[in-house]
């Protein structure tokens, strides 16, 4: 509640928060996430592992929504791009001894080049064709990772050095939370600027956008490059957290997982996926581990959720939040949402 007071008392800090896409409620969520490893049920290592996985999916879903929710192109090879970044970083660490801390950014840079390529070659395509192209790109990448056994050790898995030399999961947890917040802030700042307006215009009606003087070439390529770069960095984290990297990380089902979270969270909101990923992934993991005699039940629920949300509530969680919570008359809630 301390942060709420400061936000209320000084409008300058509220404006600053708004600029980076946060309101006091968002800050509270972040504080909760930061405190989570010390709250009793979550201080066990296996629950922390679930939390880290949830944060990983949440971060990817922010980057995914940056493309899907704004320029309206589903990057169906997103997990493959993340895996590509992870493999880059892992191979650099294994073969040249480059520290993972530098490696994940090199992986991000490499994935950015990949995103540049995907963005450029998908320029002539619209909607579903661009999605197909990125999907085939992902398939080809995964095929390469599986078959270049001399380089990646294929399905056997590449052993990678971990970022922290401890058995504890807590530092990894804080690192991925920082990455999540950074990803969110970067995406939000871009989206809040003029560039974001251009993205939305392109996503809604490309011809109209072109008529009003927006050059779709630059914006589409830029969007792909940035979102793939973020995916590459996060993939690097994945590689150096689990310590073993298999081509499975690039599989289409991983993209589907990210996609489901992003869409249930609400497309075009960026924060929806990040918020919804934690309870959602957690619930799935609980279902999976407690009902282990019914394999696949968690994914059935997953798919049912996706289908129901797509049909009956296409706005997702963020739409629900905007229509029911944000319009609230309650003073405390209004203060939390940074409203005067």
């Amino acid at each position: 509640m301390e942060t709420t007071k400061t936000a209320q008392s000084s409008p300058a800090s509220g404006a600053l928060l708004g600029k980076i896409g946060f309101n006091p409620a968002g800050i509270l969520c972040v504080l909760l996430l930061l405190a989570l490893p010390f709250i009793p049920p979550f201080n066990q290592e296996y629950l922390l592992r679930w939390l880290i996985y949830a944060a990983y999916i949440a971060t990817l879903s922010v980057g995914f929504d940056f493309t899907a929710g704004f320029i309206n192109i589903v990057n169906f090879g997103y997990a493959a791009v993340a895996g590509f970044g992870g493999y880059t970083s892992a191979l650099l660490a294994v073969n040249f001894g480059i520290s993972p801390w530098i490696g994940i950014f090199l992986g991000g840079a490499n994935a950015a080049i990949l995103g540049l390529i995907i963005g450029m070659i998908s320029l002539r395509l619209r909607g579903i064709f661009a999605a197909c192209l990125s999907w085939f790109f992902g398939l080809a990448l995964m095929g390469l990772a599986t078959k270049l056994v001399w380089l990646t050790r294929g399905p056997l898995g590449l052993r990678t050095p971990r970022m922290f030399e401890t058995e504890s999961n807590v530092p990894f947890y804080y690192l991925i939370i920082v990455l999540l917040i950074l990803t969110y802030i970067i995406c939000k700042m871009v989206v809040n600027s003029k560039v974001g307006l251009a993205f939305k215009a392109i996503g809604q009606n490309m011809d109209a956008a072109r008529t009003s003087g927006i050059n779709p070439v630059f914006y589409r390529v830029f969007n792909f490059t940035l979102s793939c770069a973020l995916a590459g960095v996060i993939g690097g984290f994945y590689a150096h957290y689990y310590g073993i990297l298999t081509p499975n990380v690039m599989h289409t089902t991983k993209t589907v997982e990210v996609l489901a979270v992003a869409y249930i969270g609400g497309r075009g909101s960026l924060w929806g996926g990040a918020v919804i990923a934690f309870p959602f992934i957690f619930l799935m993991e609980i279902v999976r581990s407690t009902l282990s005699n019914l394999p696949g039940l968690n994914l059935v629920i997953y798919a049912l959720m996706l289908i129901l949300v797509m049909i009956y509530y296409p706005g997702g969680f963020s739409y629900f939040f905007d229509t029911h919570v944000r319009q609230s008359k309650n003073k405390i809630i209004r203060a939390l949402l940074n409203k005067k």
């Binding site: 619209r126 064709f129 080809a140 095929g143 394999p295 797509m310």
Partner: protein, 341 residues
């Protein structure tokens, strides 16, 4: 005569001509170089792919649904064929001269077709119709994401109900393999290939010469116009979905002896069918058949010369090239713009 010659030269210079001639050349070269089994494998894989991809192209052309769950209908087909054929096979081992020895597999394959069609109809009622009623803007993308969900759902329902193990059979008919041009091919493969050719032919006749088939094509060209001349869109949609899912189901059922049923078996036919559809353009059935054989050739040649497991990499790179230089596909000039929103 010279006009004919000019026409044929122009055809050869078109994208169609180049690809068809190129793949024929590749096929001949590979056959001479490595033996006729390449040709045989290509034809048999191509027959299966033609079934799956005609269904997919129908879905895309008529309903604008970019189906991601098509492989799961393949899986449903092979699963139902397994559960129909197992008791039949138990019966025929006890009664070897029963008429079911010959007709049993056909019953199983027919059952897979029927179950596929029913699954398609159910998914139309439970999934696509509610979406169509509620929102029509951005239909292509939304329905695509919906089929993604459907695919995950069906895969995991299979795992939940039937388990994740391989449910396969050894043979349908068995017997001595037939020999063509020094290649021995099992009888099952020959019969299933003949069956798929027969079904694709029937399908083509249906689409070209019957009233319903013409109505389906009319809807694919212009839904509003079709409605004006008195075609009931909802019926056509239902028929199209059941047909396309039945085609996928029968492909799964007739190939049960090669691909045993397990939850994620649908992914490979799905990739391949998408390759075919992108390569050949949308809504063009004969183009999809030709494209199916091309992709099959590509796959077989890749496995032969580059190695097993590369058959995702090389075709997907080639398909990407096709998408970059000719986004409407090779045969797809007529129906260009269906998805261009």
């Amino acid at each position: 005569m010279s006009d004919n010659l000019k026409d044929s030269i122009a055809w050869m210079k078109s994208a169609k001509g180049i690809t068809i001639l190129g793949s024929l050349l590749l096929a001949t070269y590979a056959t001479i170089n490595s033996g006729p089994y390449i040709l045989v494998n290509t034809i048999i894989t191509g027959g299966m792919l033609a079934l799956v991809s005609t269904g997919l192209t129908l879905m895309l052309g008529v309903l604008n649904i970019a189906m991601f769950a098509h492989g799961e209908f393949f899986m449903i087909g092979s699963l139902s064929a397994y559960y129909v054929f197992t008791p039949i096979s138990n019966y025929t081992t006890l009664h070897p001269d029963s008429f079911l020895v010959i007709w049993g597999p056909l019953v199983a394959i027919f059952a897979s077709m029927v179950v596929g069609a029913i699954a398609g109809i159910i998914s139309e009622f439970l999934v696509f119709r509610p979406l169509r009623k509620r929102a029509s803007d951005n239909w292509v993308m939304n329905s695509f994401l919906l089929t993604v969900g459907l695919s995950v759902l069906l895969v995991n329902l299979h795992q939940l109900i039937f388990g994740a193990d391989f449910k396969g059979i050894i043979r349908y008919w068995g017997g001595m393999p037939l020999s063509f041009a020094d290649v021995f091919i099992s009888r099952d493969r020959v019969i299933s290939f003949c069956l798929s050719v027969f079904i694709v032919f029937l399908f083509w006749v249906f689409m070209s010469y019957t009233r319903t088939g013409r109505a389906i094509r009319a809807v694919s060209q212009d839904a509003t116009g079709a409605q004006i001349v008195g075609i009931n869109i909802e019926t056509i949609v239902l028929i199209t979905i059941s047909l396309s899912c039945a085609l996928a189901g029968v492909a799964g059922g007739s190939l049960l002896f090669m691909y045993p049923a397990y939850p994620t078996m649908g992914l490979e036919p799905l990739y391949m069918a998408w390759f075919v559809v992108i390569l050949s353009g949308l809504g063009n059935i004969l183009g999809a058949v030709a494209g199916a054989f091309m992709v099959a050739l590509l796959k077989v040649v890749t496995v032969e010369y580059v190695g097993a497991g590369w058959d995702f990499v090389v075709p997907s790179i080639l398909i990407m090239l096709v998408l970059i230089f000719k986004p409407s596909g090779i045969f797809g000039s007529e129906v260009r713009g269906v998805l261009d929103t």
